[in-house]
């Protein structure tokens, strides 16, 4: 990946996000990245924006759900990033077109919304069969996709154990290069014993890495739940930065991102009880 390329992030909102890999992208100091995701994103996209490596977002929703993403909001309001006006069907349609190997995907929705009027991914098209006018959404081909799954083998076969798997398989098929983090590497024979459960075959995965709590602070079900406290603490600092007090956020980014040489460093900064509590919560759902 180079400066200015499109980066796609797997997962959805606060679940299954390859956050450890996102921190590595931040540390690699890329500039002017374009960022996409499944249609729902939040913490990690906000973190990327807070560190200044993002120029454009193709994210339908950027939100922490109970509250807004402060760095996203701040950067858009100050004109530092271009938050393209896109929605689920244009982004998913874009991945689908790319995965399918075609240059666009037809969309026959969006009546009445202002979103398609401003959406740079869409154009009008006429159906050659019915004559109706509908939309086309442009194929989205991320240069690099980061994906998180619960399990995988050394060949890169991924297995999601969560109920929802979002757009991860589609993003993997749509992208030039795919790096996956997994909570644990399993034996190839384990993958062979249940082929229908492989959620992303190795033919779409270029590199795989086992990293403990690689999704933290997002959840990786059924292994560990969402660290709402961590996300909230970040959001408080980012909100303070938006309101003119950037010091806390700067220190957070130094300590939790640039200052962590390894995932072990990163995890060691969490309160001792945190990870067991997140595992406990996931077990009890």
């Amino acid at each position: 990946m180079s400066d200015g390329d499109l980066l796609a992030i797997g997962g959805l909102f606060k679940q299954g996000r390859p956050t450890a890999l996102v921190r590595e992208v931040i540390k690699a100091d890329f500039k002017d990245l374009k960022v996409s995701s499944s249609p729902g994103s939040g913490f990690d996209v906000d973190l990327l924006i807070a560190t200044g490596c993002v120029a454009e977002t193709y994210c339908p929703a950027v939100t922490l759900e109970e509250r807004m993403c402060p760095s996203f909001r701040h950067a858009v309001e100050e004109g530092r990033i271009r938050a393209h006006c896109v929605d689920a069907l244009s982004v998913v349609g874009g991945y689908l077109a790319s995965a399918n190997g075609v240059p666009f995907q037809p969309v026959a929705a969006w009546k009445g919304s202002d979103v398609p009027k401003h959406n740079p991914l869409v154009a009008h098209i006429t159906c050659p069969f019915t004559g109706e006018t509908l939309f086309a959404t442009r194929a989205l081909r991320p240069k690099l996709a980061l994906i998180h799954a619960q399990e995988g083998d050394v060949y890169g076969n991924l297995r999601h154990l969560s109920t929802m798997t979002y757009a991860d398989q589609m993003i993997a098929r749509a992208s030039d290069f795919v790096i996956a983090s997994v909570d644990r590497i399993v034996a190839p024979d384990d993958i062979l014993s249940r082929p229908r459960e492989t959620s992303v075959p190795n033919i779409y995965v270029d590199a795989i890495v086992e990293l403990p709590y690689a999704a933290h602070p997002s959840g990786s079900f059924p292994h560990y739940s969402i660290d709402e406290a961590y996300i909230d603490a970040y959001a408080d600092l980012a909100e303070a930065a938006r309101k003119g007090a950037p010091e806390g956020l700067r220190m957070f980014l130094e300590q939790d991102v640039s200052g962590c040489a390894s995932q072990r460093d990163y995890l060691s900064r969490l309160p001792d009880t945190r990870l067991p509590a997140l595992e406990e919560e996931a077990r009890n759902l």
């Binding site: 004109g79 689920a88 998913v92 991945y95 969309v107 929802m164």
Partner: protein, 252 residues
């Protein structure tokens, strides 16, 4: 005095709207709609189907703030992905739920920006993951957690998810069907005048009044001769809501 919370009342009022055998869903940040769906399934609509958001018929053991992560699902009948959601978003559902930074007199929803322009906004909102269920579904419900002159405005600054646009003519001109059926706010149930497709008071919650609703609404509410009081939760509804749907009291 009431022995139920406002959010519990909203959930109960919405639950009564859902019919047995229908198929619908709620999106992110949707504790009230999800409670409504689950309660309806326990009362009059045992065969209600919950689908369209990447899971089929979840059985959560408690409410969570979001419907869009595994915490809130419990055992499901099937898992889907954004591929299937793409199809659902075109075919539409029987019902869906929306909320917004701004809601206007015609039920349009804004989640993109307030003031300024899209790319030079005074305030930038979160955007919306999926804008298509509003326009493609048979009907949707608006269920804000705030009812004030700030979020109930005459015209939204940006139509993220469309309601009745500027009324019957523009709605028809856009080739639309469905639209918002009711708005169940913390103060009242608002429906839409069939002639103008503008919001009017359908019923006022027991803790509120017509005056309070008018006072907190940033546009002129249509006239409706039959304003009555919103029917509070029955003992049974409240019991099921608290014992089974929301045992942790998230809505309290």
């Amino acid at each position: 005095m009431s022995d139920y919370s406002i959010q519990e009342l909203q959930a109960v009022l919405l639950s009564r709207e859902l019919k047995n055998g229908e198929l619908g869903a709620a999106g992110a940040a949707a504790a009230i709609p999800m409670a409504a769906i689950l309660l309806a399934r326990l009362t009059h609509a045992p065969d209600l189907q919950i689908a369209g958001e990447m899971f089929v018929n979840p059985n959560p053991t408690q409410l969570w703030p979001s419907m869009l992560d595994d915490r809130a699902l419990g055992a499901c009948e099937a898992a889907e992905t954004f591929l299937e959601l793409f199809g659902h978003s075109h075919r539409g559902l029987d019902f869906f739920f929306h909320n917004g930074l701004q809601i206007d007199a015609h039920g349009n929803i804004n989640l993109h920006h307030i003031g300024g322009t899209l790319h030079e906004p005074k305030m930038r909102g979160p955007g919306a993951a999926n804008i298509s269920y509003a326009g493609q579904s048979k009907r949707f419900y608006i269920c804000p957690t705030v009812h004030s002159r700030r979020n109930f405005v005459e015209r939204v600054d940006f139509i993220t998810s469309p309601g009745y646009l500027d009324g019957p003519e523009s709605f028809a001109a856009a080739g639309m069907n469905g639209g918002p059926h009711l708005c169940v706010s913390p103060l009242a149930v608002l429906d839409f005048d069939p002639d103008t497709l503008r919001m009017r008071i359908h019923s006022v919650h027991p803790h509120s009044s017509v005056e309070e609703v008018v006072e907190n609404t940033g546009f002129e509410l249509g006239a409706n001769r039959n304003v009555h009081m919103s029917k509070p939760p029955t003992r049974d509804e409240l019991r099921l809501l608290r014992e089974i749907v929301d045992p942790r009291g998230y809505l309290r």
